[in-house]
Amino acid sequence: MPSCATMKKNKGKASSTNEKEFVFEFRAGQHNCVLKVPLQFPVQEIINDLHGRLMLLHKIPCYIETDLKSSLSSFVEKETILDYDREAELALQRLTAGDVDINQLTNAWTRSYVETTLEHARPEEPSWDEDFADVYHELIHSPASDTLLNLEHNYFVSISELISERDMELKKLQERQASEMDKVMHELGNTLSDHDVNAVASQHFDAQQVLENKWASEQKQVTGIQKHEYQQWVISLHQDLQKSNSSQITEEIKVQPSQLLEVADPGARMFEEQPQLEESFTIHLGAQLKTMHNLRLVRADVLDFCKHRQHSSAGAKLRRLQTALSLYSSSLCGLVLLVDNRVNSYSGIKREFATVAKECTDFHFPFLEAQLDEVQQVLLYARAQRSSKQKEQPEIPRNGGDDKNKNVERNPSNILPGEFYISRHSNLSEVHAVFHLCVDDNVRSGNITARDPAIMGLRNILKVCCTHDVTTVTVPLLLVHDMSEEMTIPWCLKRAELVFKCVKGFMMEMASWDGGISRTVQFLVPKSISEEMFYQLSNMLPQIFRVSSTLTLTSKH
């Protein structure tokens, strides 16, 4: 009964599998039997199972069971060791033969250790930012928080005054220039020529520029001073707190002049409170294990989440405190701002955002311009990395990559739809991080799909939210900030449905990344949509997301 069976080969690592034959001889009655089994090394199977299968398959008598088992396992053990030895000596040979450079090899090892283990890593250079972050986080969670906020508010007020002064002066200048221009226009054709008018106009423009620059530099200087003062004060307060016992200090803090003078409304610049429309939902995601999240549909201007309201309203102050408390915590708030393909703040929503970001000094992070400069540099670096990698592996053309590459080659400092940059802020009312997501005119058309770069960008934003503990994120539901003619009711409904569904999908995906931490997603619709439209959208939401049932407090039957 010499049986020879070909067993199903196990898939192993393709590079280093080899087949060996296990031979086992035994006696059955008068017969000498030989069992030959080709085995794939390294053996992935459990030896006991293999043994059981052999017994079954070849109907091997039970009295040899233990013999077979021990001889099989010692065979596998021996051969595995031989394989290890062969591989190991092959590697050593490559080294002695000079196929592998010993310096390269040891340097790679060194790098691994230096970059990944604390023991071998280079000592950390002290980072002022992080020290300040710790100090601030501690103070804002102490009785000193009120003082901090008041101080911040006072600085805010003085910046506001500065800005209103600037606006006043600019207005005066504009008025003067307008009357001058009127006079000039009056004389046009009489004593003055077109050339003269142009000259006056350019002169006016220059004057305006000079004035604006003057104010800009002044503002910059003031904010710089404020930031410095503020940081010094925070550090020294912290030191004081550490030195003496805290009760004494709380007294001291209270003594601090809390001149919460309500300044007069510094002009129409502050936005007036408009009735916001909003509706909240609690939803459950997941088939068996359900995770709970909050959704909110809000009709508001995107910058409402950034602008500071007057301190007078209690809600505003609380919101300010909330934002400050969570700044260095692990529950951040993010906002998606849709921008064009240039990294700057010269036009449109970017300019408006920059204006809002300057209304109040950022005491923690660099000014917006500085952050954007950094983004620009990182962007260039990223492009260089990508192109060098693409040269290395030219065989993988990414989907529709050709088109994009051309675009990139044209101007590598521009960003593409679906890409986004992140700016960090401590001075916005409800937001810590702003995701500037690049979109093109395509989003205005009615036929974008779930594979659209803007949607993929949203997904990546949610992913960053996951990895960096952004637990509240505000997303423009229609992927536009302003409504226009072509955005009809069907257009809105279609777009809202797409974004709802995609975000739902991404949120379910996120649950697998972070274990289903509860988050809040705010869907933002432009202010200009009608109330009726808003309620249509809010009716759509529960059809797409499973809204959790209201808790019924009826007694059980």
């Binding site: 591989e87 970059e115 692990s330 990182v378």
Partner: protein, 896 residues
């Protein structure tokens, strides 16, 4: 697991490497995070128990791919020797070497390699014996492929390991994973370690890493590595002195050992097993007895075979002030530590091992469309710091301070008391009444319960009855897997049976299994890990192969999930439990053509709805929302498809105690929780509602289904396709089947039992039938003494005789009321107002048994009653004729 004894619990943490952006697996599903892969691979380490190895206890995932591993820990290690600068005696060196090799050999037998051997990973217990720590790191990280950091320490790396290269994940030039190291790499590390021990100081410490590695690689050209090492070592001291030390001070056999370990070529280097048998250790090996694996609960060999009692039993209870907690198993102590408020992340943060930066400071600047981010500063807090932190047991000790010593050793003889007597027994008896969720978090209560169940299980199957009894109170989560196995009556050598089942040969079902597994309870870390998938596949295939008359239906995967989760390291037990569960609760559900079984089941279910909640039943029937539309996955998977695991556990804790008709009650209880919404909605909304079942309060569901179960006469859920009665006498230790747990089918069949009914007839009946037996039992008519149940446990019942008055007067069962069929209902099938129906109204809420002459009348009468929302309506199978032979009918004495 071993008792804790003088060991401590330690925790260390590391990060799994992050996945590349936007890469899908070959099956189109997202890739499994590396931390989950590691978590799955870790599990087997919990079973690797050896006196020379630090027992692994648990692993948990934190945020951002962080993993925390809990293991047995000791404060002192070999590096203490080095710090003291002492040279170890040659006896000590040999002892350490031998013990280390014992540990390494045992690991190798389990297919594992240490790779991270170093002085601080060789711990010493209080008796000075070696305990290897972090021995599973190389295994759980798939030979280092799932982490960024290299495994092992530069000075101890074997030359072939260095030569095979380090594969830093950020280094994209190497695509293939690093080659795994064999057992002999550890022998080299052992050599270096022993050398350090002899020399009394660390080797190659003051040289830069790359130089260190180069030095190790160049040793290949040397003749005598030990001498060279001594010379290197000597560049700091006087070379000659060291040389002299090596040759003069070291005895020849130690030198021999070092030479053998530090053999440059792996093929010439011995394996740990070979070295262990080397004559060098002749003097040492006799001091050690080879480790014997304790016999598991389910095996063919005698568990008490190696039990040795001391001559004088009182020796066992000598020390009074013993620390009883340390006599408990390590995993128990850890479980209790967690319950007592232990928080791993907090412990590690307090010791400064976990340092996290505010996330706002580490945000990236710029993210490309494919998700790759740029400008993110490298966060130092992600670097590896593998310091092990000792978990303080103080808090747990304080929590359990009041637990008396006797509580740790409860006596099992007394079957009356469910909880052992202790000082705090009053407190415990109040705890029993608290909700289950709270009980499961109560440290002291869990301690007592775990000890009790541990002892009961040790005495299984002898103490099977007690296990049943205690399981009715609750089942501690820690021992649930084994308790369930006990409840399912698993016995015998399941391992051998499982091993002899062919789980590898391809079968046609493979494809379907392959599709289903990545969709089954994947929110769970264990079940979504690759190891989990492999085990899933094997258990499912084993079941399919070993049940040739049944087939794989989708849903079997869900059914397998709870068993696999609870017995993750014991596939054989998971398989055995599943194989015992299915015939009990899902008999023939997995036939190739199961329609008759399922149809009958669903029909009985709809009768149960009508029986318990006629209003809901009427509504659902009106809108056509029949059980076929929603309940098939409920019953086919015993609710495992609709609930998350933690709810399944609580549900099944009770389900396993009930008989095969208990699932009907669960189904009704679920419907009742959604009652308001169902009643308010039409067909479409109901379909939508059930397509994604809303949250169900599982404790309420369990409570209500028990209540429903108590109200249900046993025979009402009779099914002809249920499991036929088991052959008598298989209850080896005489499990006293109580009324609730035994199946109706298991009862001896008599003339009074229910008769099978064609499916179409069954479907036509709105209310269930009950058997004459049940009626007799419930009305306590039996002449042969009291029934099986006490009065209190029985549902209240009223028998309604619908024959005409004449027949009624000729003989009826005592206590029944007479409402002739013809008079009861008006033209619109409303109940006619008359004294008899008034009486019926007053009995509303009781079980109403309709007794008739012609069965069609009873069917109609019952249907009418259900229509007007009478709950708990059923009728007597076979009608009055069934009762006639019993002689239980009485004739009222004529009124005077």
């Amino acid at each position: 697991m071993r008792p804790l004894k003088d060991a401590q619990l330690g925790a260390f943490t590391f990060f799994a490497s992050a996945l590349p952006h936007d890469v899908c697996g070959s099956n189109g599903l997202p890739l499994t995070p590396n931390s989950i892969k590691i978590l799955g691979r870790f599990q087997i380490l919990k079973t690797v128990t050896h006196p020379r190895l630090c027992q692994y206890v648990d692993i948990s995932r934190g945020k951002h791919e962080r993993l925390i591993v809990v293991a047995e820990h000791f404060e002192s290690s070999l590096s203490d020797f080095q710090k003291q600068g002492k040279k170890a005696s040659s006896e000590k060196v040999l002892q350490v070497a031998y013990e280390l090799l014992e540990g390494l050999d045992f690991m190798n037998k389990h297919g594992m390699v240490h790779r991270a051997l170093s002085a601080h990973n060789v711990l010493m217990d209080c008796k000075g014996n070696v305990k290897l720590a972090k021995f599973g790191l190389y295994h759980m990280t798939d030979h280092g492929a799932d982490v960024d950091f290299p495994i092992g320490y530069p000075s101890y790396l074997a030359p072939e390991v260095i030569a095979q290269g380090s594969f830093h994940p950020s280094d994209f030039s190497h695509d293939e994973a690093p080659l795994p190291s064999g057992p002999k790499t550890d022998v080299w590390s052992l050599g270096v370690l022993l050398f350090e021990l002899c020399a009394g100081r660390r080797l190659l410490q003051n040289i830069e890493i790359s130089e260190r590695l180069k030095f190790i690689l160049t040793l290949g050209c040397m003749d005598d590595i030990v001498t060279v090492l001594a010379e290197e070592h000597g560049c700091l001291d006087a070379i000659k002195l060291i040389k002299a030390f090596v040759y003069r001070e070291l005895p020849e056999h130690v030198l021999e050992l070092l030479r053998k370990c530090l053999t440059f070529l792996p093929s010439k280097r011995p394996t740990p097993a070979e070295l262990l048998g080397d004559p060098i250790f002749n003097g040492v090996s006799c001091l050690y007895t080879p480790f014997k694996k304790p016999v598991s609960l389910f095996s063919s060999s005698l568990r008490c075979a190696h039990l040795e009692l001391p001559e004088d039993i009182s020796d066992l209870c000598k020390d009074d002030d013993e620390d009883y907690l340390s006599e408990r198993a390590i995993n128990e102590v850890y479980h209790l530590w967690c319950l007592a408020g232990g928080d791993l992340e907090k412990e590690l943060t307090n010791k400064g091992i976990i340092q996290s930066k505010p996330p706002i400071c580490t945000l990236a600047n710029f993210v490309l469309e494919d998700g790759e981010s740029f400008g993110q500063r490298r966060d130092r807090s992600f670097l590896l710091d593998d310091t092990t932190v000792t978990l303080s047991l103080c808090q747990l000790g304080n929590r359990l301070r009041d637990v008396a010593g006797e509580a740790y050793y409860p006596l099992l003889e007394d079957e009356q008391s469910s909880l052992p007597q202790s000082n705090s027994s009053n407190e415990l008896s109040t705890t029993v009444k608290l909700p289950l969720i709270i009980r499961e978090r109560d440290t002291e209560y869990q301690l007592i319960r775990i000890i009790l169940f541990d002892r009961l299980l040790k005495a299984y199957p002898y103490k099977k009855n007690l296990v049943w009894k205690e399981a009715r109170v609750d089942i501690p989560p820690l021992v649930r897997g084994l308790v369930w196995a006990a409840l399912l009556g698993i016995e015998g050598d399941i391992q051998a049976k499982y091993e002899s089942t062919d789980k590898d040969t391809p079968i046609p079902t493979d494809r379907q299994i392959e599709v289903d597994i990545p969709r089954c309870h994947q929110y769970d870390e264990l079940l979504s890990s690759p190891q989990g998938h492999i085990k899933f596949r094997r258990v499912l295939k084993a079941w399919v192969v070993s049940h040739p008359d049944l087939v794989y239906w989708q849903g079997l995967d869900s059914l397998c999930a709870p068993f696999l989760y609870l017995n993750f390291n014991n596939e054989a037990l998971a398989y055995a439990c599943m194989s015992a569960f299915i015939p009990k609760y899902l008999y023939n559900f997995f036939l190739k053509d199961n329609s008759h079984v399922i149809q009958e089941y669903l029909t009985v279910f709809s009768q149960m709805i009508a029986f318990h909640d006629p209003e809901l039943s009427n509504h659902l029937n009106e809108i056509g929302f029949i059980p076929d539309l929603y309940a098939i996955p409920w019953f086919l998977t015993m609710f495992t498809h609709v609930f998350p695991l933690h709810k399944i556990f609580h549900l099944w804790d009770t389900l396993l105690l009930g008989n095969s008709s208990f699932p009907f009650c669960i189904g009704v209880a679920i419907l009742q929780q959604l009652r308001d919404r169902l009643l308010a909605n039409g067909f479409n909304e109901c379909i939508l509602l059930f397509s994604d079942l809303p949250e169900i309060d599982i404790e309420r569901c369990v409570r209500e289904s028990i209540n429903l179960f108590c109200w249900t006469p046993k025979s009402a859920t009779y099914r002809q396709h249920a499991q036929p009665p088991k052959a008598a006498g298989d209850n080896g230790f005489g499990k006293a089947a109580s009324y609730y747990t035994s199946d109706y089918q298991d009862m001896p069949k008599t003339d009074l039992s229910r008769d099978p009914l064609a499916l179409c007839d069954l479907k036509a009946e709105v209310a269930p039938r009950i058997s004459a037996e049940d009626l007799i039992d419930l009305c306590e008519l039996s002449l042969s003494g009291p029934g099986k149940r006490t009065r209190a446990g029985k549902p209240k019942i009223v028998a309604v005789d619908i024959r005409n008055l004449e027949d009624f007067n000729r003989g009826h069962i005592s206590g029944s009321i007479n409402i002739p069929f013809s008079t009861a209902f008006g033209p619109n099938s409303e109940l006619v107002q008359c004294p008899a129906t008034g009486v019926l109204q007053s009995y509303r809420g009781r079980v109403i048994v309709i007794i008739s002459h012609a069965i069609t009348n009873a069917i109609m009468f019952a249907a009418h009653l259900v229509k007007v929302n009478f709950p708990r309506v059923c009728f007597l199978d076979g009608g009055i004729n069934k009762l006639k032979p019993t002689g239980l009918l009485t004739v009222p004495s004529p009124m005077i």
